[in-house]
Structure formats: structure tokens, C-alpha cells
Amino acid sequence: MIGFDPVYRNLVSSMSIAVKFFASLREQVGKSEERLDAGPAATVAEIWQLATGGQPLAANTLMAVNMEYVDAGHPVQDGDEVAFFPPVTGG
């Protein structure tokens, strides 16, 4: 039960986050994925900072948490998968 308590979760010292990069962003940051430990209550933008060592986040970067589109201020939670990629060009 304690694992689902939001107050408790914000008190844990770190969250384990899977980070993924695709296409030109993958080449730019030089990795396709990694698992990192983030402090509590981090946002997607903070995950980008942590994962890239502070590289600038381009305005047209798309972001997803658990495969749903979000914006940079979206909070991440322990176990989330966070992805960064450029505008899509399928079809």
C-alpha cells in the first residue's frame, strides 16, 4: 500500500526513469536510451537536462511520457518512460 501513497513517493530520494531519444535527437545526444535516477517531483524538462548534461532543448522537440504526448512541464513519476524526439515525418 505504501508504494501508492503520493506523499511517501515525493519523499523517496530518487526515481528510476527510462529515457529514450529518437532520430536526429538520438544522434545529437549520442544515445538512444538510458535509465537514470532523478530527484523527486522532476519534470520532463528536468529529465532532459539530467540526461543530456544541460544541452538546450529545441522548441520543436516532442516529448512523451509512457508513450503519450506531454509538454515540458509534465511531472514524471518513478518507473516512467520519457521520450524525446523531433517532429514526426512518417507516411
Binding site: 536526429s24 508513450m67 524526439f85 515525418t89 512518417g90 507516411g91
Partner: protein, 143 residues
Amino acid sequence: MHIEIRQQPFDPFDEVRDYQRNTLNEAGKYGATALFIGTMRDFNEGDDVRAMTLEHYPGMTEKHLEKICGEAQKRWDIIDSLIIHRVGDMYPDDPIVVVAVWSAHRAAAFEASRYLMEELKSRAPFWKKEQLSEGSRWVEHNS
């Protein structure tokens, strides 16, 4: 409703016919089938293109294609829809994507097939990298 990511070349005509015959199983009910086939061109933005690599986000791509099909199903009176999208290395004249929609009457099939393609192009996580005669480049504009 069926969506699929393909690593290997496919024939869109065979795929749609096979799906219609073997899976759709609604003979006599659909009066309208609208198909769209996206095929790799040998030119883009004024340059010759020799080859292309299509990258996707396994899991998220499928999820969003399913979502798009589900939205079309809610919005139009359609019987079924199919999307097959290629990934990996491909060459000019290779089919990239096929979208098919079946409905009783034509308006729904026409409108839903267009909707699926527009939504796919704006929301589904795919990225194209083109091989030109001099080097390669990521496609930035999805025209």
C-alpha cells in the same frame, strides 16, 4: 481494425485484398473502399533521393495508430480500417504506407481515409532519413 509495422517490403494491393477477403469478412456490406498508398519518391525538396531509413518508436507508434483508427471509427460510420506502415531501409518505389477504410457509403470511406493519413503524418512517431548522392539528412518537413 488492424495496424501493423512492417520491417520488410510489402505489396499494398495484396495486403488490402487479403485483409478484405480473410479478415474483414463483410462481403456485401461495404459499398465503398478508400485506399491511400504512400510510395517512396526518388526526389524530395529538389534533390535526388537514393534510399531512406524509416525509424519509429516501438510501442508508441502502434499505440497512436490504434488511437487514430479508433477516433475515425467514432467519427464516421465505417465498417473497418487498416494501416500498414513500413520501417527500416527502403528504396524509391517501395510502398511506405497503406491506409484502407471500408464503409457502406462513399463519404465515410473518403473522409476517414484522409483523416487517418493526416493524423498519421502529424502524430505517429516515424522519422525519415534520406540518403542523397552526397550524404544523408533527416527529413524535417512532412509535406
